[in-house]
Amino acid sequence: MNGQPRAQSTVLRRAVLFGIVLLVQFAIIEAGLRLYSKSEGSATFQSLFIDDPAVGHRLRPGAEIRYNTDEFTTDIAVNAQGVRDDDPIGPKAPTERRILVLGDSLVLSVQVPFAQTFCENLERRLNAKGGDTRWRVINGGVQGYGPVQDWLFFDKIGAAFQPDVVLIVAFVGNDAIEAYDTAAALKAGRAVETEQPAIGRLREVVRASVTLQSVRLRWSQLKARFATGTPERPLTSYLANPPPEVAAGLELTRDAFGRIVTRAAGIGAKTGIVLFPARFQTDDPDFGRLAEIVRQFGDTLERNAASDRFRQALTPLGVPLIDLQPALAAEPDRIELFFQRNVHLTPRGHDVVGGVLFGFLETSGLTAPVR
């Protein structure tokens, strides 16, 4: 007579046991990943960052780590002002001119030694011209930044570096989507929590766990599949028929960059915009692979659609703009410009970008003396 309750009890006991097994395994995986992981979720890499009430997050002033992956090992130092640099940023000397480069991980460039970043490469090229002026190029890139954080960082922190030129590096692969996701911060003029406190706490737990960050990535892919028809949300900027959030994100990007232009002009600095392509825009096999995946999802991936959309959206700002894609794609060894696994620039890629930006600064008049 009591067979059914007993069966239910057995099922419940087994479910609890299985849950415990999963939890134990989770703990083992978490510990293993914290100790040995080479991903950006590792404790070592995460120690580079601190929360910032105004911007959201930024580089931890004074942080020093050795970041080791299968593809590279890099020593990363953050100066007292919170940018990747070996030297502090003090008052500007009369003969010194400064270029502040804003952007995300593509600017920060943790994959290469500091001396090999395109910012340093550009600085060397500028100073090699000779003359009395000493150029300093400040790497203001921070992992995970989008256009809105670029604006907040410049407004709250970067403007104090007294730049003469501000170069905004827009990663066309995901900046529109990131701007769309952070619209509230642009409106508020500071980082805002847009979610319920419980969600916020859950987010903190997820951020604190290497394992759960991977699970979150899966969840994002799943949501992207439902919402956009692509396996990864950033790819929507390249679709033949992008969802409305791409156009909205481009408008927000123009708004954020416009604020930087205005603020920079207010402190006597000129602004230029650099459109940075995704690796697949220069790498044929990579493009073929992604195009096939998107095709399976029933849409079409257009190689330079995002670059074209950004150029169209940002041209009205009336500041010099360069798209790096044609120059990178024209390189005979373009397959070697990006790392294969983490899709950031190799030392060779940084060298090419440094050269292209040097030419851009020269021809656009951005480095011409202010009268």
């Binding site: 097994v21 995986i29 399976q296």
Partner: protein, 474 residues
């Protein structure tokens, strides 16, 4: 709609929910409609080929069942074969043979412009065509009775778990299960779920993680050394195994949840010690098909050593061509045929000399297994090569430059081990019990630990890009 995609998860959830509440005959109608939807999701135009093949072979089967005049029966069989092989030949091999002919003609000074038809390869055509051919031949041989229900036959051909990448099922196995009402036990549910989970692990964790390693060596811009090529060949061996065995296991698991058994298609093929055994454990449904409908009709091993060897070479060359319209596949088939011929010869000599490998876990058995794995891997090198030029270059490097570099170890060998070792740990246990379902017999806690490990591996390190299965192209 690949098995490891979200689309399929949603599709199967709906199909299964409806399927469970329907009685038997409506179940069959519903499964047929679902199967046509599944197939049409790739390209609805190819449904006409599926329908054509179904209708033609259903009526040929009925005719063969009632006709007694041997001449007429033979004519009907030939007509069916011409239809099926003609369809397969046109869609799969037309451009290949035309281009090959044009290339050959150009060598002797005879130039012609090949027709440009841009023939698309209908997905799964090699699999369902072989199923309908085996049905017609079995009826012709009077080994089975033809079915009198077009619905049941259509479902036999189009049943979605096997439709696009096998297993290549025999009517004697599947048709009775379609014709009879089905029951689904708790054990079937449990083992079906395990097969699906295990198949996802094989595909998403093993195959999809090895694919970039293999591509990095076989890619057009790669300049690998011999050691890189060796590790890439090992990696490809497990990639193609994980891909295809994973698909087969998901197919079996999905089907078992609906109360329909599909045959085992892989049985630990890298634990064997001879080419004969390899083909008894690798793509079993194809190798038994080739044996029953090609090798034995050619004469099998009935005409002495020379004829047996000839039959083996023909069978394996055609088996290679079945895998794809490229000469590298033909060469792979010939290599497999040569391996079978050589193994027969060696077996004959060792028998005559009274040599015996000791049973149990002996050093000689392990050495033979390792050797056989290398023989298999060289075959996979032929199979995976982009061209004969690349194959020749890789073979030369394998013979002349086997020194591993740090990159070989760090970028290829260690990632290879990290993927393959978890698979092999489970496989050793399964192989000793000769069943992939053996883990279901483990003690509760061990079993749950295994389920959990599979769950975490797929969730954290599996590929979620919905990559196509390699065997879809065949």
């Amino acid at each position: 709609m690949v098995f490891t995609s979200l689309d399929f998860v949603l599709f199967f959830a709906v199909v299964y929910a409806v399927y469970r509440v329907l009685p038997h005959r409506p179940q069959n109608w519903f499964l047929l409609a679902a199967s046509y939807y599944f197939y049409g999701s790739w390209d609805w135009r190819f449904l006409s080929l599926l329908l054509g093949s179904t209708v033609v072979d259903f009526f040929v089967g009925r005719y063969l069942g009632r006709e007694t005049a041997q001449g007429k029966r033979r004519a009907a069989l030939v007509l069916s074969l011409i239809f099926n092989l003609g369809m397969l030949g046109f869609f799969k091999y037309f451009e290949f043979f035309e281009e090959s002919l044009a290339a050959l003609g150009a060598r002797v000074g005879w130039h012609f412009d090949p027709l440009t038809l841009d023939v698309l390869l209908p997905i799964g055509i090699s699999f369902y065509t072989f199923m309908t051919i085996s049905y017609v031949i079995d009826v012709y041989r009077r080994e089975i009775q033809p079915t009198s229900h077009l619905l049941d036959f259509a479902l036999f051909v189009a049943y979605f778990p096997h439709l696009v990448a096998g297993p290549i099922l025999r009517a004697s196995l599947l048709l009775p299960q379609i014709e009879r009402p089905r029951t689904i036990s708790a054990l079937q549910m449990r083992s079906g779920a395990w097969l699906i989970a295990w198949g996802c692990f094989q595909k998403m964790f093993v195959a999809d993680n090895l694919a970039p390693l293999v591509d990095s060596v076989f890619g057009p811009s790669a300049t690998p050394g011999g050691a890189d090529i060796l590790v890439a060949a090992w990696a490809f061996a497990f990639q193609i195994y994980g891909d295809f065995a994973g698909y087969s296991n998901i197919a079996r698991g999905v089907s078992r949840l609906m109360g329909i058994e599909l045959n085992v298609n892989f049985l630990f093929p890298y634990f064997v010690r001879s080419p004969q055994a390899f083909w008894r454990h690798w793509h079993i449904s194809l190798s038994t098909w080739l044996r029953d409908y090609l090798y034995i009709p050619l004469g099998g091993n009935r005409g002495g050593a020379w004829k047996t060897n000839r039959n083996l070479m023909i069978t394996m060359a055609l088996g290679g061509l079945w895998h794809g319209a490229a000469w590298t596949f033909v060469l792979w088939g010939l290599y497999q045929g040569a391996a079978l011929v050589a193994a027969r010869a060696i077996s004959g000599w060792s028998d005559a000399a009274g040599l015996r490998i000791r049973e149990g876990l002996s050093a000689s058995r392990i050495a033979l297994g390792v050797l056989m794995f290398q023989v298999t891997c060289f075959g996979w090198l032929i199979f995976r090569a982009e061209s004969f030029g690349q194959l020749a270059r890789f073979a030369r490097l394998l013979l002349t430059d086997l020194r591993p570099t740090m990159a070989t170890v760090n970028s290829l060998f260690i990632p290879f081990l990290m993927v393959v070792v978890p698979l092999m740990v489970v496989h050793v246990y399964q192989a000793r019990r000769e069943s992939e379902e053996a883990p279901l017999q483990l003690p509760l806690l061990t079993r749950y630990a295994l389920y959990g490990a599979v769950f975490w591996c797929v969730l954290l390190w599996g590929s979620f890009e919905g990559a196509q299965f390699i065997y879809f192209q065949f």
